[in-house]
Amino acid sequence: MSTPVLETENLVKVYGKGATRFDALKGLTFEIHEGESVAIVGKSGSGKSTLMHLLALLDEPTSGVVALGGEPVTALKPKKVSQLRNDTFGFVFQQFFLNPNQTVLENITLPLKIAGMGKSERNRRGMEVLEQLDMADKAKNKATNLSGGQKQRACIARALVNKPTVLFADEPTGNLDTVTSEIVEDILFGLHRDHGITLVVVTHDEDLAAKCQRRLMMQDGEIVTEEHGATGVHA
C-alpha cells in the first residue's frame, strides 16, 4: 500500500475545563493514504468537524499526534504550519466564506496571494481552475452575484487553485439542492479520479459518503466502524 499522507495516533481533543469539560475526540488512530477518498460520517456533534480541523492543522490536539507524510506536525512552528496548509491543503468550508466585495477571480486566488505569487501568474492559474469548473465567464463577477451552486464551485476552485495534495471538504453539499449537490459531487470525485487528489469529506449525506472509497463512522468522539469500497455510483 502507498505511504499514508496523513496519520493520527491516539488523537484526543478536550474542550473546556472542570464542569464544562467535553471530550470531543477520545483517542483516534487511523491513516489516510495518498490518492484515497475518505468520508467522515456521523451524527451532529459526534466530532467530525473537530477531527477535520485537527487533520487540516487548523487546530491543535489536546494530546496525540498528527503526522503529515510520516512527519509529526505537533512540534512545528506556527509559521511553518501556516505554510504547510497553504502549500498542501485545499479547503471547502461548510459555509462559503467568499468575500462579497471582491470578484470571483480575486476570491479564488486568495491562497496564491497569501503564498506570495505575483498578480499575473495568480490570475492565469485562477482562470485555469475556473475553466476547469465551467466558471470562467463568472471570473469578473462580484462573489455576491452568484447562485448557491456557483458559490460552491467558486469555493472548490479556491480549494484547488494551489494544486493541493489533500482536499478537505466540510459538508460540501450541506446547503445545496439535490441537483446542484450532484454536480458538486461529480466535480469532487472527478478531481479525485483525474488528478489523484486525496479527498477527505465530512458529511452526513449518505449518498456522498457512499461514493467514497472509505467511510469512518463517528459517534461521541470515537470511530465506531470503518467501511471500505465505494458502495455508491462512482462517477
Partner: protein, 431 residues
Amino acid sequence: MRSVDVARTALGNTFRSKLRTALTVVAIVIGSFTLTLTSGLGAGVNKYVDTVVAGFGGSSQMFVMSTGASDAEPTDGPAEYDPEAAASTGGMFGPGSGGGVLTDSDIEEIEQIENVSSVDPMVFVSPDFIETPDGAQYDMELDVPANALGLELEAGEAPGEDGMELSIPADWLTIFDTEDAEQVIGETVEIGISNVTGEQSTVEAEIVGVSEEALSGIGATPMPSRELNQQLNDLSMEGYEGQAQNAYTMAVVDVENIEANEQGVKDALIDQDLLGLTVEDQIGAVQGVIDAVSWVLSGFGLIALLAASFGIVNTLLMSVQERTREIGLMKALGMSSGKVFGLFSMEAVVIGILGSVIGVVLGLGAGLVGNAWLTGEGGPLGAVAGLTLFAVDPLAIAGITALIVFIAFLAGTLPAARAAKKDPIEALRYE
C-alpha cells in the same frame, strides 16, 4: 503575501466602508492641518526674524546696559542716594534694561575689559518737534543711532556717523505731501529741543533715508545720525549748573573676535553690574517667544492627533470585528499571524497617510493664502517690511507626515494584534 499585495489589499479595505474611513481621516486632517499651520507660522516668523538679524550683519557689537542699583544693599525704607548709580527709567533696548543708566566711570570700566576694542556711549534724546520746510511742526521721538543697523530702508540710506542726518519712517511721507519716498531724500528739516532750563533751540538735519517698520519696531520712528544725536544731547544739556554727570542709556561695545570672547566680556560686565547683550541675544529672545508660541499651538495639533488616534483604534477594532470570518479564512488558508498584523497595521498607516497628506496640503494652502492676504499689498500687515507669517519648511512637513503615520501605526497595533491573535477555527465559527 507580498508587500505590494499587503499594501494593495490594505488600500482596498480602507475604502470598503468609505464613510467610516472618511470620518476617521477627517479627525487626522484636523490635527495635521493644525500642525502644518503652526509649524509654518513659526518657520515664517522666525525666517523673518532671521532676515532682520542678517540685516545687522555678523556684528561684533555688544549692547551694554546697567543692571540697576545693585551696588545698594537691599534696605528697609528708602535707599541712600548714590550719585554713581543715578537711577533712570532705563533704556528701551532689550530685556533687563530696567535698571539704571551708565555713567562715565562705567564707560571707563568697560574700556578696561579685555578684548573690548572700543566703547561708544549712547544717549537717548527726546526732541520737542520736527519742522518741515513749509513750517509745520510735528511731535517726534527719536530712535538711538545704534539701532541704525536694523533699519529696513524703502529709499535712500541709513543715517551715518557724521553729518546732521536722519531717516524718517515711510508713513511720515504724508507730512511732505508725497507718496514717493525718493522725493523726500535731501529735504532739510529743523528739529527743536529744550534744554534743562526749558529754553528751546533748533538744529537742521537732512533726510537721507526713508525706513519701513520692522518687526522689532525699528524704523517706526525717525533715526538720527550719531552726530545729530550728540548735537541734540549737547543742546539738551546746555545750562546744566555744576559738574555735569553724563548719563548714557547704553553703550555700544566693539568686541574683538566676538565668537570666542563673548562670554568672557559678558562675565566681566556682570562683575561691574552691567549687562551685555549681543544682537543675537536680543533676537534670540524674540525667537524664543515665537518658538514657545508655535509649540503651544502645535500642542493643540497634537491633542487633536491624540483624539484622532483613538478614532483609528475604534475604526479598526470595528473593522476587525466585522471581518472576523475573513481573517479566519485568511489564516486558515495559510496566512501567518505576522502578515495579518501587517495587513491591519498597514490599513492604519493608509488612514494616517491619507489624513496627513490632506491635512498638510490644506494647511499649506491656508498658510500660503493667509500669508499672501495678510502681508501682501494692502493687507492688514502689509506695511511691515519683509514680513513673512508662513514659510514652507520641507523638513518640518516631512516630520509632521512621519509623525502622523507613526501615530496611526501605533494606533493600529492594538486592533492589528487583535486580528493576528484570532484563532482561525473560532473565527470561522463566528456568526
